[in-house]
């Protein structure tokens, strides 16, 4: 058992230099941003004196190396610093906002996989048929429609015209209380609490934004599935399998699909990390209190600690996702092992 965990541990150790790099770069980048937080936070009416008072209060009158040292010391104690804009520890902000983004992103990816992978497989198997064309149309539409447009369109049709969707007011309508916090995922927390009404409420709120994001993420996944399946289906081992008289089912799923899964999983990982940071527009349209809008807000206001915390959290998430993807490679394809790396 220990020998199985060792490579994972080794992978984790390898990420330490990456994280240190991220810490340094994010610190320097925030300082290189245009804009002076002291001016920003001195409020509407400011005088040179009040701006200096604010600068001292934020600790920005110290030299850069001093500031970096203070930041690192706090970081080692697990303190990401205090966001000036929200007045709360950055860690608390991230802890409330990251689950909202994750819930939205994961739901939309699940939805998108459920549609895109079968579609891609079918399109590859029945190349040139109507399924293939449908796949092409969906993919083109998904890529070419910007998410905020799809979002507003969906709100217009399903909320404004038809009235099927609930008010696009974030994660829960105001008549509900938040479920007791366990994971931060409202769907899971409400189920853990055994509160089906809140679960339904949260699911309804989630539907439109998740569909919006799913339409967007559909494209790369479906395309990659189709391409990988085509490559797999035209390989020698499939011909051999067919010649050996295996059932089409076995050939398709046991051999072709399994081999095609590798690039699909890779794409999935990329799409996930991309979408998590990039769904700001969807968050804005649906008033979703996620991490994307938090980061943009922090950037606009030169809220250093918040920006640094966001970048660091994202970097850690990337590392984790890469690890999970590598592990799943090993599951899908036994030839890939950690020891060989």
């Amino acid at each position: 058992m220990a020998t199985r965990w060792l490579p994972i541990l080794w992978r984790l150790v390898q990420t330490i230099p990456v994280v240190i790099g991220v810490v340094i770069i994010s610190f320097l980048l925030t300082r290189a941003l245009p804009g002076d937080p002291a001016v920003q936070f001195a409020g509407q009416m400011a005088t040179p004196e009040s701006i200096e008072q604010v600068r001292a209060a934020l600790g920005l009158d110290k030299s850069l190396p001093q500031q970096f040292l203070i930041y690192c010391q706090a970081l080692l104690q697990g303190d990401l610093g205090q966001s000036v804009a929200t007045g709360r520890p950055v860690l608390t902000d991230l802890a409330t906002r990251l689950p909202a983004s994750l819930e939205l992103t994961l739901t939309s990816l699940l939805l998108s996989c459920l549609i895109a992978i079968p579609l891609g497989v079918l399109a590859a198997v029945r190349q040139g048929s109507w399924v293939d064309h449908l796949c092409r149309v969906l993919v083109t539409a998904g890529v070419s429609l910007p998410t905020f447009f799809t979002g507003i369109l969906l709100i217009y049709i399903f909320y404004y015209l038809l009235g099927w969707a609930p008010s696009p007011l974030g994660r829960l309508d105001f008549v509900y209380f938040d479920p007791p916090r366990v994971t931060g995922f409202f769907l899971i927390d409400s189920l853990l609490d055994g509160d089906l009404r809140t679960f339904t409420g949260a699911a309804k709120q989630l539907a439109l934004p998740a569909i919006t994001l799913a339409l967007f993420t559909l494209a790369p996944i479906a395309r990659m599935t189709r391409a990988a399946m085509l490559t797999a289906l035209s390989s020698d081992y499939i011909r051999t399998a067919c010649a050996a008289g295996l059932t089409p089912r076995k050939v398709l799923f046991g051999y072709a699909f399994r081999n095609a899964l590798l690039p699909v999983v890779t794409t999935l990982g990329m799409v996930f990390s991309f979408v998590l940071g990039a769904n700001v527009l969807v968050e804005k349209v649906f008033a979703w209190p996620g991490i994307g809008s938090y980061a943009v807000e922090a950037l606009v206001q030169s809220d250093y600690a918040a920006v640094q915390g966001f970048v660091l959290a994202m970097a850690l998430l990337f590392v984790l996702i890469n690890l999970i993807i590598d592990l799943s490679y090993a599951l899908i394809d036994p030839r890939i092992g950690f020891s060989s790396k």
Binding site: M45, V54, G87, D93, G163, F177
Partner: protein, 535 residues
């Protein structure tokens, strides 16, 4: 489910005792007891004095805290309701007297005023709160200074119900400045209990937990999502509000906010874009109030050589396409500030300058100037304010080309805007939107025309205007000398044109099922006078 259905459902749910099952906000979300408001900004603190508290959060100071005095209400000629700068009304103070030399103001507190925890409001609390405002640094301290309040030793609690303010000089701004959101009164006992050595003013605690005596308490605050106000039934600061609970939801997308208020799922959409206001005006109740003492202006920087030429400045003023800008940037919402009379007969401000679009006159002035062949200039705008700045800038660019001025539009990120435009004052030509809280022309001049002031982004330096502003700033408005001095100031800046007024912007509010809206200079929603529909 529309709100009406929801209300009916909630009403029945209460009756049937279903509430423990349905995890809703406690019962009374029925009838017109509850209003739901959406807006695009975010409330980032419940304490106005904290460093970093944004503008949207000022409304917490208005709705949850009391001041000694407040402003009355008046009906504008347009029929809209507005606060009344000229009428100071009691809030926590029952009465006040000003000494003959104008240096001492003595307040008597209402004997029955209590904080939310039931403790009586005393002069000690007022003193502690004022000390905090002048000592906290940053915005509150600057705003207090505008009224002549600089140091804690100016405030004294004579006995539990008598509070005295001593001024270094008499000023007409002192009393009104006690009615702005900043000098709000905090339950000092609660605050002190949570103060630490590093945080003597309990900023950490009051940031999330207000402790006041105001008309509304905070029932809950989910930062970045919503704020729920709940009425304080023991409020004595004014007439008890009609609405028991006001839910404030943050919805960043203007399109989503519009859908919500059109559908009637929310009753108020606060601060909507001019375009939505123009389009919704036929369907819903839309209040568009020109923002007092606020001007959207085209600023010409005196550090830029061509703008040191008076003829160039006038040429620009005559070439500016005012009407087109007003229609394209403001959708006709607000007030026009061009084509006014040359003769100054009153002290109204903002006022229409006596310039209008006239390309012939503009060309004449260019021909007279030292820049007959024209010149290149950069017109800077803020990315945070593109909704009005972008169309205005493009129209100006097009118009200036006709008199030989080659304009390049530069878009500056919001984080950097204040630094370059207001602090460094390095933008040659730019758009600016200053508005003063205290509604007097001299106050506007103090911030926007006096040398080195923050909003004097044109780096305008005219000793005469500087002195006139100093003279008038604290002078009573009914002083016989006041009006003539103000007229002189108007004449100089109309001639000098460091800022060319484009129009006076409007604050737009759409209502669907609510009533009682009042405009306030702080441009935030005062929920206290609101009522349900048809009330």
């Amino acid at each position: 489910m529309s709100l009406l259905n929801r209300r009916a459902f909630l009403a029945s749910a209460t009756g049937a005792g279903l509430l423990p099952f349905l995890r809703v906000l406690p019962a009374s979300a029925q009838g017109s007891d509850t209003l739901v408001t959406v807006f695009g900004q975010t409330i980032n603190s419940l304490d106005l004095h904290r460093v970093g508290t944004n503008r949207a959060s000022y409304q917490v100071a208005v709705n949850c805290y009391d001041r000694l005095v407040g402003f009355g209400a008046k009906q504008l000629p347009s029929g809209e309701m507005s606060y009344d700068y000229d009428e100071i009304v009691p809030e926590l103070a029952e009465s006040w007297t000003i000494s003959d030399d104008g240096l001492t103001i003595t307040f008597k507190l209402k004997p029955n005023a209590t904080f939310w925890d039931g403790r009586k409001v005393t002069a000690e609390d007022v003193k502690w709160s004022f000390d905090r405002a002048v000592s906290a640094g940053g915005f509150p301290t600057t705003q207090m200074a505008a009224g002549g309040f600089f140091r804690p030793d100016q405030f004294e609690a004579l006995d539990a119900e008598t509070f005295v303010v001593k001024l270094d000089y008499p000023s007409k701004l002192s009393l009104p400045n006690l009615a702005v959101p900043v000098p709000f009164i905090i339950n000092s006992e609660v605050a002190r209990a949570h103060a630490t050595e590093a945080d003597p003013w309990a900023m950490e605690y009051l940031h999330t937990t207000p402790a006041g005596s105001g008309a509304y308490k905070i029932a809950r605050w989910d930062q970045g999502q919503q704020l729920v106000y709940e009425r304080n039934d023991a409020w004595v600061g004014g007439d008890l509000p009609a609405i028991r609970r006001v839910i404030l939801r943050e919805v960043p997308s203007a399109a989503t906010r519009r859908a919500l208020v059109e559908r009637g799922d929310v009753q108020i959409s606060f601060d909507i874009p001019d375009r939505d206001a123009a389009e919704l005006a036929d369907k819903l109740t839309v209040h568009s109030t020109p923002v007092e003492n606020c001007i959207h202006a085209l600023c010409l920087n005196s550090k830029f050589a061509p703008f040191q030429d008076s003829d160039v400045r006038k040429a620009v003023a005559y070439a500016t396409p005012y009407e087109a800008i007003f229609e394209a940037a403001a959708y006709g919402r607000g007030a026009k500030l061009w084509g006014g009379d040359t003769e100054i007969t009153d002290t109204a401000w903002p006022r229409a300058f006596p310039y209008d679009t006239n390309l012939d006159l503009a060309r004449e002035h260019m021909a007279k100037s030292g820049f007959v062949d024209g010149f290149d200039v950069t017109l800077s705008i803020s990315l945070d304010l593109v909704s009005w700045m972008e169309p205005a800038a493009l129209l100006i660019q097009e118009a200036m080309a006709q008199i030989g001025i080659n304009v390049t539009v530069d878009r500056i990120p919001g984080a950097n805007w204040r630094t370059v435009a207001l602090v460094d004052k390095t933008l040659d030509m730019h758009l600016e939107n200053f508005g003063g809280w205290l509604n007097t022309p001299c106050y506007y001049f103090f911030w926007a025309y006096q040398k080195d002031r923050l909003f004097n982004s044109s780096a305008y330096d005219n000793p005469a205007v500087h002195d006139l502003t100093e003279q008038t700033l604290h002078m009573a408005m009914d002083d016989p000398e006041y009006a003539p001095l103000i007229k002189q100031m108007f004449e100089i800046v109309i001639e000098d044109l460091p800022r060319i007024p484009l129009y006076q912007p409007a604050l737009n509010v759409a209502m669907n099922g609510a009533d009682g809206y009042e405009f306030w200079f702080h441009r935030q929603l005062d929920v206290r006078p609101l009522t349900g529909a048809g009330a």
